[in-house]
């Protein structure tokens, strides 16, 4: 009886949430100013004067998926280089530094050419390396360490950072609102006039990032292996951080070419949220970013992942505790089925009432955690609907897999009920509403949505589109994408004592 009552109240509340949401779209329209410069760079200004602070996000429509063959990791390498300053920032004398940077790159390339030979001459290699290091030392004399970041730190910037994903690269921080022009001058020069100083030391830093995120983390290793097995042709198969030999092979020359091709105004969206005057922002945008020359649109990715011919499956045996991971190939986020897949993921994983959480974690106590997402590692191109679980002690990976399989079969059989669909829609809406109350969240959400869909309003419209999804849609997409030949299964199995000898004798 209580349940019925709460359900009824729930439906009432749903109406309330919908109401709240449409209000916020209207109120947001009033506070949002959008303009595109002549060179094609789009700005979205969100006025929010809760406090005299501003957040900035430069969102570039380039991710690791856009990298040329043999240069995986280059999008991320450039992201690191965008903190190294310009011709006047980060240097004591650019005129003298510039030829040295070029010489360093030439020396490295010569070393690289020797290094990749199967039977390289060790002595020659050592000489080339010495020459390279000497030039690096010389170039370093002109460097002012981290000057870009130091200036910002000193002026009170917070949250200075950047990200690179399979789909995009973003640069962000916040300033007190009396210093917006500082952002305009530094950010525009950063992308007009980047200098690739300390390139090779920074690559060492990146190797460390790779060791931390991937090599020394069981889940990191599993994910990297998983993507490389799941995809055949599409660059979603490559790790964002890059394969070690590609990081080694990437030089300043390729990084500059990459930058020139992809960091063009039409490929950049900037969002500014906070206590700002939109007219003033427009004036400054034209003044500083208007200088970027319009250029050819960034190259588009033409690779289409061919259909999979059969299930793919692998096991990593190692010391750490077991992890289960599976993924089905699905669609990009502009495909008609994307919304139904998003809701299916919510029905399976979101919250304590979701199907997999409830069964595997709460009721049958077989997993420490189970979750998943549609659109991995990205959603600009067709990605994967992934599901992963951390089994509890003594629970076999087979049982985990069979249980997930059973729950997927139920979705395919149409066993989802209307109240579940209503609940997840409510959750998605509410989490949007909650994300609108901070500047950084707004810039991420608005710039990202605008860059990918062409209109920031889709932040709200996408929520409305969820209303069109029916139980039939959920069942249909489950049957369309969740089948054996379309999936990849990967797991970590704990290597137990005695396996060594047994294996040696297989």
């Amino acid at each position: 009886m209580k349940k019925l009552l709460s359900l009824a109240v729930g439906i009432l509340m749903l109406a309330a949430v919908q109401n709240a949401e449409s209000q916020s779209l209207e109120s947001f329209e009033k506070n949002v100013t959008e303009f595109t410069l002549e060179n094609g760079l789009t700005f979205i200004i969100i006025k929010r004067d809760v406090a005299p602070v501003v957040s900035f996000m430069t969102y570039v429509n380039v991710g690791s998926a856009n990298e040329p063959v043999g240069q995986t990791g280059i999008a991320h390498i450039f992201e690191h280089m965008a903190f190294k300053g310009t011709s006047y920032l980060g240097t004591t004398n650019y005129e003298e530094e510039k030829p040295l940077i070029e010489a360093v790159d030439d020396a490295y390339r010569q070393w690289l050419h020797e290094k990749i030979k199967t039977n390289h001459d060790e002595e020659k290699l050592a000489d080339l390396w010495e020459t390279f290091q000497e030039l690096e030392e010389k170039a370093k004399k002109y460097v002012v360490n981290n000057e870009f970041s130091t200036i910002l730190d000193q002026e009170g910037a917070v949250g200075l950072n950047a990200f690179t994903s399979a789909d995009a690269t973003g640069y962000f921080y916040s300033l007190p609102s009396n210093k917006v022009e500082l952002w305009f001058t530094l950010e525009s020069d950063r992308f007009l006039d980047p200098v690739f100083r300390e390139f090779y030391v920074e690559k060492d830093v990146i190797y460390e990032e790779r060791r931390m995120r991937t090599d020394s983390s069981p889940f990191g290793r599993l994910l990297e292996e998983f993507l490389s097995v799941a995809f055949s042709a599409h660059p979603y198969k490559n790790p964002v951080i890059g394969w070690p030999s590609d990081i080694m092979a990437t030089t300043i020359r390729e990084t500059r070419e990459f930058y020139e091709r992809f960091y063009v105004p039409s490929n950049i969206t900037i969002a500014i949220a906070g206590d700002v005057d939109p007219a003033e922002m427009k004036r400054l945008a034209e003044l500083y970013f208007g200088r970027m020359p319009a250029s050819e649109p960034a190259p588009i990715l033409t690779v289409i992942e061919p259909p999979q011919r059969g299930e793919r499956r692998f096991i990593i045996e190692e010391e750490s505790q077991p992890i289960f991971l599976k993924g089905y190939k699905t669609v990009a986020n502009d495909h008609a089925d994307a919304k139904a897949l998003q809701l299916t993921a919510s029905i399976l994983f979101q919250g304590r009432t979701s199907r997999l959480f409830r069964r595997m974690v709460t009721d049958e106590k077989m997993a420490l955690a189970v979750t998943g997402i549609n659109g991995f590692p990205g959603s600009r191109y067709p990605g994967l609907f992934i599901i992963y679980a951390f089994p509890n002690q003594g629970v076999s990976l087979d049982l985990i897999e069979a249980t997930i399989e059973e729950e997927i079969a139920k979705i395919k059989n149409g066993e989802v009920e209307q109240h579940e669909l209503d609940r997840v829609r409510t959750q998605v809406r509410a989490s949007l509403v909650r994300s609108l109350a901070n500047n950084t969240g707004l810039t991420f959400n608005f710039a990202g949505t605008h860059a990918v869909t062409g209109d920031w309003r889709n932040v709200f419209r996408d929520i409305d589109r969820l209303n069109d999804i029916t139980l039939d849609d959920i069942q249909r997409v489950a049957n369309t994408y969740f089948f054996k030949e379309n999936r990849t299964v990967g797991m970590i199995r704990t290597k137990s004592e005695g396996d060594e000898v047994a294996e040696a004798n297989q």
Binding site: S6, A16, P176, E209, E319, L368, R429, V501, N505
Partner: protein, 689 residues
């Protein structure tokens, strides 16, 4: 303000002749004053039962968040029930109440996109409710019920225990958490309130009654504070809170008295071997201080110089100049209730481990030896002072600061006072506090990394202490409970004399055997030659159907070679080799005077009355000795199986004892697990030196 902004911008536009188009470089910009803004009003009052309430209106979104801060935490747990507070907090929510059982609560809340959560940390607990404002009145009684009347159903207690056991089994998978945990133990002492971790045994000890007691101690008026922010009218909210929470019994206010930290400065180099990583996770440091220290502000400025943002010296040198690390940082922590730590943390490629440690410590030494420049100090202060506005950029932050100051007994203007002190910090202060509070020559260094790749680098830092992070199995301390030690020593002596009858000095032992074992692939026979070079080495050659495998274990680590392929023994296998050395009966006999033996009475196996003794602690093996000849008839070893969370007992039976070169060796050995024969080893010959 805007007008002024515009004028200044226009002025700049005119003046900045250097930049032709009107763009201004960073160093030519001048900024208008920051717009002044009114801090929101926090309404605060006490209920009759001692509950302190704080309210802030924020109508930006139609939401209301209520947080109840609870003056209780895991510091109140007893040492044999570590984890009780956390588990109590979890089951309060997952179990729900009689009226709203956990699973129904989930449905009720999620259908409204609302959340209620409860938990306990070390020094405080909390209950949280986040709702759409329309739901507030309906859900407030539910929230109160969850806080005050948890049902603690057995099913959800079982769930939290299962989850915690799983978490323990996974705690050595990632290097970062290992480093944090083991470093904490080095600083505060293992088992103290500040460095204790839930073990399987604690989970077994914790009962439903413990949870009920803990909850009752925590949730009473004198120990609660309520903070509400959102779209409401203060007057209405005040009334609702009074109506709802005034009937909670007052109880007595708990003092947050933490035990003093017992620390004396010392130096050590510690190593945790993890063979599946290629990067060393490093922590360096010693004890830190307290918030009440008059040098707090100077130490915070010093922290910024050492490790603030991209400008800190550690990042500048260790990351940017040397390329040794992606993440590097460090801080002298001043805690409110107990001493903090001073630490440096970084991760670096195995081969750079020692150099990166030296480079990091050098930055600390530099703070002591060279005064910072006035410019660096000024820039550092700018960094701290110019970002203050972000401390108040949301109403929620302002509310939280007041609540936290009240909870911690700090004055309401604690932050303003601190900022005034920051302004006054001098170059001399930085050098003084660096010298007074930091002892770079007296630090504990911890490295979690791959011993095979690191090699002997750590030895140049000092004598290396290996830390064993094997997860203690439940009841490990209790099994084979204390027996008679004198009688144990007597029987160990008899056994040792039976194995090495003439008290010969045995330095090495070579055994030629055939091993018949059951594997998942069926039965298998292997010829083997095993050489023990006591005390620390085993060399083993296995002649398998696939070819020769050579295992070499020396001084704690080992390699395995097969054909051209050579690979380090994974830590788990190396541990296994170490254990088999410790448990080798000849090794025990040679080393009889350094063993602890306990007599555990007589025991019957296969109709034979045997003397049961347990040898520990390193060997951790139980022998069943034949009283007629003093030789072991059988032994038992318990190995913890992380996959099941339980022990697997292996019984070994010894037959055909043969004396040669002064040593008795069992020429037939049968290993049994769960009553099944797992392997049989038949020895053909042995020799000893």
């Amino acid at each position: 303000m805007k007008m002024r902004n515009l004028i200044i911008t226009l002025l700049l536009f005119v003046c900045a002749s250097a930049s032709i188009m009107g763009q201004t470089r960073y160093n030519e910009l001048t900024f208008p004053d920051l717009r002044s803004f009114d801090l929101p009003n926090v309404e605060s009052f006490d209920l009759k039962n001692g509950i302190k309430v704080f309210l802030v209106e924020d109508n930006e979104l139609p939401l209301i968040n209520m947080t109840v801060l609870v003056r209780a935490g895991s510091f109140m747990e007893s040492g044999d029930k570590v984890g009780l507070a956390g588990m109590t907090g979890t089951v309060m929510r997952t179990g729900g109440t009689e009226t709203y059982p956990g699973d129904e609560l989930n449905e009720l809340l999620e259908a409204r996109a609302a959340s209620i959560e409860t938990g306990f940390g070390m020094a405080s607990g909390s209950a949280f409710m986040g709702v759409l404002k329309e739901d507030f009145d309906d859900l407030l009684p539910v929230f109160k019920d969850v806080m005050l009347n948890p049902a603690f159903p057995q099913d959800k207690i079982d769930l939290v225990k299962t989850q915690n056991r799983s978490a323990i089994s996974r705690r050595n998978d990632n290097p970062g958490p290992i480093a944090a945990r083991e470093f904490n133990k080095l600083i505060y002492g293992e088992g103290t309130v500040y460095a204790r971790y839930t073990e399987y045994e604690h989970i077994d000890n914790i009962t439903r009654e413990d949870m009920i007691d803990f909850h009752a101690k925590a949730y009473n008026g004198a120990n609660l504070m309520i903070a509400v922010i959102g779209d409401f009218r203060t007057r209405d909210m005040k009334r609702k809170i009074e109506r709802t929470f005034t009937d909670i019994p007052r109880g007595t206010k708990r003092e947050l008295d933490f035990p003093p930290v017992d620390y004396s400065f010392d130096i050590s180099v510690n190593f945790v071997n993890k063979t599946d990583v290629n990067q060393s996770n490093i922590r360096i440091g010693h004890i830190g201080g307290r918030r009440a220290n008059p040098d707090y502000a100077a130490l915070q400025v010093m922290n910024q110089i050492l490790s603030g943002g991209f400008s800190g010296r550690l990042l500048q040198e260790v990351r940017t100049n040397l390329g040794y690390a992606y993440s590097v940082g460090g801080s002298y922590i001043s805690n409110i209730h107990y001493d903090g730590v001073f630490f440096i943390t970084l991760s670096t490629a195995s081969e750079n481990t020692a150099s990166a440690i030296e480079a990091s410590l050098n930055e600390v030494v530099r703070l002591q030896n060279e005064p910072v420049t006035e410019e660096e100090l000024a820039a550092t202060k700018d960094r701290m002072l110019n970002s203050i506005v972000f401390r108040y950029d949301s109403k929620n932050k302002i509310l939280n600061e007041q609540v936290s100051n009240t909870y911690n007994g700090l004055p309401m203007d604690a932050f303003d006072r601190y900022i005034d002190e920051v302004r006054k910090v001098t170059v001399a202060d930085i050098q003084r506090v660096a010298r007074e509070y930091i002892q770079p020559e007296n630090v504990h260094i911890l490295v979690v990394g791959n011993g095979n790749e690191i090699g002997d680098q750590l030895e140049r830092l000092g004598e290396v202490n290996s830390i064993d992070i094997t997860i203690p199995r439940p009841g490990q301390q209790r099994t084979e409970a204390a027996g008679d030690k004198a009688k144990g020593a007597e029987w160990l002596g008899k056994m040792a004399s039976a194995i090495i009858p003439e008290s010969a000095e045995i330095n090495s032992l070579t055994i030629q055997s055939e091993i018949a074992m059951q594997t998942p692939m069926g039965a298998m026979n292997i010829r083997s030659t095993t050489v023990y070079e006591y005390p620390g080495t085993i060399l083993q050659e296995l002649n398998t159907p696939q070819g020769l495998i050579n295992m070499e274990f020396r001084d704690g680590s080992g390699t395995m070679r097969m054909g051209q392929m050579s690979q380090p023994l994974p830590a788990q296998q190396a541990d296994q080799m170490k254990r088999s050395l410790n448990q080798d009966y000849v090794n025990i006999a040679r080393n009889r005077n350094n063993q602890t033996a306990e007599y555990l009475g007589m025991h019957e196996i296969e109709g034979k009355e045997l003397v049961k003794i347990h040898i520990g602690p390193d060997a951790d093996i139980t022998f069943y000795i034949d009283p007629e000849n003093g030789l072991p008839f059988a032994s038992k070893v318990s190995n913890f199986n992380p996959a099941t969370g339980g022990d697997t007992d292996t019984y070994t039976f010894y037959e055909n004892w043969t004396l040669s070169d002064g040593v008795n060796v069992a020429y037939k050995i049968v290993n049994k697990q769960d009553g099944e024969i797992a392997s049989t080893i038949t020895t053909n010959s042995h020799s000893a030196e």
